[in-house]
């Protein structure tokens, strides 16, 4: 007796929709050919110049500029072929009930075209050489089909984790996020397929650093303060962002982000909040416009004479914990200063203090002052008093 094949109902539906989308787009392509036209894909441009900050919705969005990619145009031919190849591989994976990773897609499509040139010489060309190339056409396929990779059941290595008083359904299993022991639940690569069953929490705390997440988890922070605790472990991946967005949008939980006090920490926050430049076409689904920057802020370190805010660190502690900013940090801060979405009064003050003091600080430094200080004073007090940047 062979077991009946395992069927994930949610996935089956996702596959059906994705296959449909591919067939529709390709039908249009075939019609171009039947009219004798140069096969052409019209794609939104994924460039900084075509990235627009929507002030009203507070989102980074793809602009209106379109790119025509034709097979019979020397400069676009290879990209066109690569896009077609990527479409085929994804399509085949969908049909065959597979879950390829982006690395899988790279390997499946990487092969050699062998041809004979008109001097009779045997020549070779690889469809692509580096994963950078296949990743780029995957993003093109996403805008071409209007589907995110998750919707096409493509997995990427996700590093986001979550714990908290909450039960969810992932696949056919119910998972209780409050019973993960010392570990945490790794946010699945297709967070849209998660079903929220019930939740008992007041807010979401997103921590940039995995180590600080673990300290807070062990300390029992989320239980004591009724929080859902999430870490992106560095630059947030898509699944973590989508998961946080759903917590905010569907469960109405406020989201606070805790990062290092430096330009990289600020950018991580902005990716959560408004989206990233490379993936601006997905901001509408991935960004959490209501996310708030809890810290660590420059005024936490140095205080703010304007508002009378006292610093959390003493003169001696500042001397111990502060790291001198490097040239790259200064340069990055100046870039951020010019981004539209950092041009609010509070952010300008943050960046100006940073540029003036040329100092940065890691969250671990605040934890070093005492985990108790971080968990029982710093975080709750800042939330309580509304001492964050929106």
């Amino acid at each position: 007796m062979s077991k009946p094949p395992f069927v994930d109902k949610v996935d089956v539906e996702a596959r059906r929709k994705a296959i449909q989308a591919f067939r529709e787009r390709f039908k249009a392509l075939l019609e171009q050919l039947q009219r004798g036209e140069n096969p052409t894909l019209i794609l939104p441009k994924r460039t900084l110049a075509n990235t627009i900050y929507d002030e009203k919705r507070k989102l980074l969005l793809l602009g209106p500029e379109k790119l025509r990619r034709s097979l019979f145009n020397l400069h676009e031919a290879k990209k066109f072929m690569q896009t077609m190849l990527m479409a085929k591989i994804i399509y085949e994976a969908l049909v065959n009930n597979e879950y390829p990773t982006i690395r899988d897609l790279y390997y499946r499509g990487k092969h050699t075209i062998v041809f004979v040139d008109d001097k009779g010489r045997r020549r070779e060309e690889n469809t692509w050489d580096e994963q950078k190339e296949s990743d780029a056409v995957l993003r093109d396929i996403e805008v071409f089909t209007g589907m995110l990779r998750e919707e096409m059941l493509i997995l990427s290595k996700e590093k986001g984790k979550v714990v908290g008083n909450m039960r969810i359904r992932s696949g056919n299993d119910v998972i209780d996020l409050s019973k993960m022991g010392h570990g945490a639940w790794a946010i699945e690569p297709t967070p849209d397929l998660i079903e929220f069953i019930d939740v008992d929490a007041d807010f979401v705390l997103v921590v940039e650093k995995d180590a600080v997440f673990q300290q807070l988890h062990r300390y029992g922070f989320w239980r004591r303060y009724r929080a859902i605790l999430v870490t992106s472990a560095g630059q947030p991946d898509r699944a973590t962002r989508r998961f946080v967005r759903r917590l905010n949008e569907e469960l109405g939980l406020p989201v606070y982000v805790l990062t290092d006090a430096d330009p990289y920490g600020w950018y991580i926050y902005s990716v959560f909040k408004i989206g990233s430049i490379t993936l601006s076409y997905e901001s509408e689904r991935l960004a959490t416009p209501k996310a708030k920057f809890l810290g660590v802020s420059m005024t936490d370190i140095f205080g703010d004479p304007e508002t009378g805010k006292k610093p959390y660190l003493s003169e001696a502690e500042r001397k111990r914990f502060i790291i001198k900013a490097k040239d790259a940090d200064i340069k990055r801060a100046e870039e951020l200063y010019n981004y539209k979405w950092f041009q609010t009064r509070k952010w300008r003050k943050e960046i100006e203090i940073f540029l003036q003091k040329k100092s940065k600080l890691e969250i671990e430094a605040v934890a070093s002052k005492g985990l108790k200080f971080l968990a029982d004073k710093y975080i709750p007090e800042k939330i309580e008093t509304g001492d964050f940047i929106d």
Binding site: R23, L33, P39, L71, K88, V114, F115
Partner: protein
């Protein structure tokens, strides 16, 4: 031509040269071959490059290296007999010294001349130069069939490629502005003209009634004076007047350029290049009154090996110049030439041929291996090279353009199988096959190209089935 080394003395070779020319009349044989210094007849023509056998020089060389006489066989074109003479040169009297004479009836239908000489020669040492000489010779004589068997027994054969012969140089009278004073004195002594005016008109080209009178008035000489009775002062004045008077440019009929067409044929046949062109310039004068013509040929690519500098083939009056290359005016011109402007990047498979023909080649030194840097010649060489190089540039540009088209079409075609497969896979089941999509793709491409691109597309489409995906 056959060269054999002496089995007893490897430094001695027997050289046998044979042609199928008109032969030499028996009574003239020894004189024609053996008299090294023939007096001038006061007529000039391009004297080298008519391809006699070079027998006089060989006779002297044989005499001075091995002391052996030279043997000659000849059968004139209208004769049925073969004539034989064994001779050398009596250097004291400058007359041929005859050792043996003979003649016999010839059964073969053959005419021409064969000469055999024993000379000292270090074959391994000069081998590459001799081979280069033959190769160069073959390039400028595509109308000749050349066979050379070298002392190693190797046969070098350059078959005839064209049937046309170039025009031989005509004998013309000297140009008055080019004459040397000593020559003028000789001419005055030997002339039969009754008056000095007649002398000028009959002896020189480009001198008529009017210019003769003008020159003589300038020189202050009575036009009716007997030319043999001119005083030394009068000769000097006449010489100066001839030099300074502006006569029309000399006739170029005495010159025998090879001709652009023959140069191209020769270069193409011997070097097997992918591109060849040649330029024959108009005649000009150097050093006052010597007409000359410059010719330049360029051969590029094909079987030519790339080198760091252009490979130069120099000729003067059709004779290959082998030695002393770097002191030749042609070397200077080729070296100073800005090849980059003409799309040539070294190392390049480039051969440059230069030919200077003149009634008087301005040799750098007596050995007649390098042409001196006369401004007029240098200028003509440069202009000829420029013209030829412009054609090369045009060719290279077109070639590059065509290569770009080929690469472009090839790029499109090589992606078609992959794209067709993708479309057919996704739309499979709707009666869409890979072959069909492939056909549609090729048709769509076909509609977007024309002319040369279309031609290349049709050529390359044939290779489509050879595209493999591994």
């Amino acid at each position: 031509m056959i060269v054999e080394t002496d089995p007893k003395d490897k430094s001695i070779c027997t050289v046998t040269v044979e042609d199928n020319g008109i032969g030499i009349p028996p009574q003239k044989m020894a004189e024609a071959l053996g008299k090294p210094l023939v007096t001038s007849k006061f007529k000039i023509k391009q004297s080298r490059g008519q391809f006699g056998l070079g027998a006089k020089a060989v006779t002297v060389y044989a005499l001075s290296t091995t002391g052996s006489p030279v043997e000659a066989y000849s059968s004139p074109i209208d004769s049925t007999r073969m004539y034989y003479v064994k001779f050398s040169i009596d250097l004291s009297s400058n007359e041929p010294a005859i050792y043996a004479l003979g003649s016999w009836k010839l059964d073969l239908d053959w005419h021409g001349t064969r000469i055999r000489a024993r000379i000292r020669c270090n074959w391994p040492y000069i081998r590459s130069r001799v081979l280069k000489y033959f190769k160069m010779l073959a390039i400028v004589t595509p109308y000749a069939d050349i066979l050379f068997i070298d002392p190693d027994g190797k046969i070098h054969h350059y078959p005839r490629i064209v049937d046309e012969m170039p025009r031989p140089p005509k004998e013309v009278k000297p140009h008055p502005a080019s004459i040397e004073k000593g020559e003028l004195q000789m001419m005055l002594k030997q002339t039969t003209a009754p008056t000095i005016k007649d002398f000028l008109i009959t002896t020189f080209q480009r001198v008529g009634e009017k210019s003769a009178m003008n020159v003589l008035r300038k020189a202050g000489i009575d036009p009716n004076k007997n030319p043999k009775q001119l005083t030394d002062e009068e000769v000097e004045r006449l010489y100066r007047a001839l030099r300074s008077y502006r006569f029309p440019a000399p006739s170029a009929e005495a010159l025998a350029p090879i001709g652009a067409k023959l140069i191209e044929e020769g270069l193409r046949a011997i070097l097997k290049p992918e591109f060849v062109t040649a330029v024959t310039r108009k005649p000009r004068m150097h050093s006052g009154g010597h007409p000359f013509i410059v010719e330049v040929g360029i051969a590029y690519g094909g079987a030519i090996e790339p080198t760091e500098t252009p490979q130069l083939l120099r000729y003067a009056n059709r004779i290959p110049l082998i030695y002393d290359e770097k002191s030749d005016v042609a070397w200077k011109v080729v070296e100073e030439f800005n090849w980059q402007n003409y799309g040539v990047k070294f190392p390049a498979p480039l051969v440059v041929l230069t030919h200077i023909c003149s009634t008087k080649i301005p040799w750098k030194v007596g050995s007649k291996e390098a042409v001196a840097e006369k401004e007029e010649i240098k200028e003509e060489l440069h202009l000829a090279l420029q013209e030829a190089a412009r054609r090369l540039r045009r060719y290279l540009q077109e070639k590059r353009k065509e290569e770009e088209i080929r690469e472009k079409i090839s790029t499109f075609l090589r992606y078609i199988p992959e794209v067709a497969d993708s479309i057919a896979t996704i739309l499979g089941g709707n009666g869409v096959s890979v072959e069909e999509v492939q056909k549609l793709l090729i048709n769509a491409l076909r509609r977007r190209v024309q002319g040369k691109e279309l031609k290349i597309l049709e050529e390359q489409v044939k290779n489509l089935s050879k595209i493999k995906i591994e």
